[in-house]
């Protein structure tokens, strides 16, 4: 699994060229094609009473985006890369999914959601929708967060959170494709407190031992590719522990398999990958399960 082509979705104010530059070390893996995308939200140019469709506003937004993209594209072209552009009017999520499919991109890069809690509850966040519908991995950038550490190279020290789901196991193969970019991989599994309730000390130790053994196998898998890998077992709330592990391991990014829960289950109960993608201060790479 190589990342040759990425789709970079931007609204400019939160995802600028500096964000893109920070992941350009993917060229050491296989990246040679970047596709820029700017979606003019329909409501920004929609029909309004007494005004009609705001064609002038659409042209202004389109040309503003075009000027920025030309500048970025010239930079990348001069480095010998392929560049494409989409500037479309529509709804963000379907347009991103459509472009990713059309371009057959290997990675979608998108900024953190900006909707409020209530808005997200009723309409869902754009990022959560992209995560749910994308057939390809999605990197959620946190470039706009003040408290987010500045990562010059997010792919340098990924923290891989394993829950033994098919998607998280697929993430192992994905990361192996980044062996020329990832300097060290920390592999973590979080055992929830609930899983240990009613167990004897021996049982708990046995669980830990078995988990470590499985993590050891994963690390050996990475090492066979010439990659540095270390494993860790944490106990507690997965969201909090993954964040803690990322901090302690000085990770540059969190990598998880994304769940295949239904829209309503996710919206009301939540999911660990979605919560981390939205709340963590670390860039988060979500690997989708295999498409049926």
């Amino acid at each position: 699994m190589e990342i040759q082509k990425l789709l970079f979705v931007t609204k400019f104010e939160q995802m600028g060229f500096d964000a893109l530059q920070s992941i350009l070390d993917l060229r050491n893996a296989a990246l040679n094609h970047v596709v820029f995308m700017y979606v003019i939200e329909r409501e920004d140019v929609a029909m309004k009473r007494g005004i009609g469709y705001q064609k002038g506003q659409e042209i202004r937004l389109r040309e503003t985006a075009n000027i920025r993209f030309i500048d970025w594209a010239e930079n990348l072209f001069e480095q010998g890369m392929e560049v494409g552009v989409y500037i479309v009017v529509g709804s963000l999520v379907p347009e991103v999914i459509k472009a990713a499919q059309k371009e057959e991109s290997d990675l979608i890069v998108i900024g953190r959601p900006h909707k409020g809690v209530l808005e997200q509850l009723y309409s869902g966040s754009d990022v959560a929708e992209v995560l749910r519908r994308a057939a390809k991995p999605v990197l959620v950038f946190k470039h706009d967060l003040e408290k987010a550490p500045a990562f010059e190279k997010p792919f340098n020290r990924p923290l891989l959170a394993i829950d033994w789901s098919p998607a998280s196991l697929k993430a192992i193969e994905y990361l192996k494709g980044l062996k020329d970019v990832a300097r060290e991989i920390n592999v973590i599994h979080v055992v929830s407190q609930g899983d240990l309730e009613g167990f004897s000390t021996m049982d708990v130790q046995e669980t830990r031992k078995q988990t470590r053994q499985k993590l050891d196998d994963i690390c050996d898998n990475f090492k066979s590719e010439g990659m540095n890998a270390r494993h860790h077992v944490y106990v507690g709330d997965p969201v909090e522990e993954i964040e803690k592990a990322a901090r302690e391991c000085q990770a540059s990014m969190i990598v998880l398999g994304s769940s295949a829960k239904t829209v309503w289950v996710e919206r009301w109960i939540g999911s660990i990958p979605r919560t981390i993608a939205e709340k963590s201060i670390y860039p988060t790479l979500l690997i989708p399960p295999e498409q049926k």
Binding site: A73, F77, E78, E82, V83, G84, Y86, A99
Partner: protein, 130 residues
């Protein structure tokens, strides 16, 4: 028989503009929306001239230009680049791709930066293919 000119550009307004210029000047226009589609039409129609944008979805003009100019059977087709991308960036990209181990390619017959006036485009087409 009227000479065939293929315009490869993802912007429908630019295609319409170019097609109008060609029709008004007695050329037969052909259209494609990206490099991939453009190459298919080139192989099928063997146009007398290519008017090429650079920044497009699917496959950029950089790739199409390179594929065209390194193909024995297609390299004779002249190209006018019509793009918002600066000429120096285009030339630099071709130089870098050559340095990466690609075949050297010649410069395009003409390079026009968008936007361009109808008479300038018409004059340039006439200059390149008559």
């Amino acid at each position: 028989m009227a000479k065939k000119v293929l315009v490869v550009d993802d912007d429908p307004d630019v295609r319409l503009f170019s097609v109008t210029v060609m029709e008004e000047n007695g050329y037969t226009p052909l259209e494609a929306t990206n490099g991939e589609e453009g190459m298919k039409i080139i192989k099928k129609e063997m146009p007398d001239l290519l008017i090429l944008d650079i920044l497009m979805p699917r496959e950029s003009g950089i790739r199409l230009y390179r594929n065209l100019k390194t193909s024995e059977s297609l390299k004779h087709i002249p190209v006018i680049v019509l793009s918002g991308i600066a000429e120096k960036s285009f030339l630099r990209s071709q130089k870098v791709l050559t340095e990466f181990g690609g075949e050297p390619v010649p410069e395009p017959e003409a390079y026009l930066e968008k936007p361009v006036k109808a008479e300038v485009l018409a004059d340039m087409i006439k200059k390149v293919i008559g």
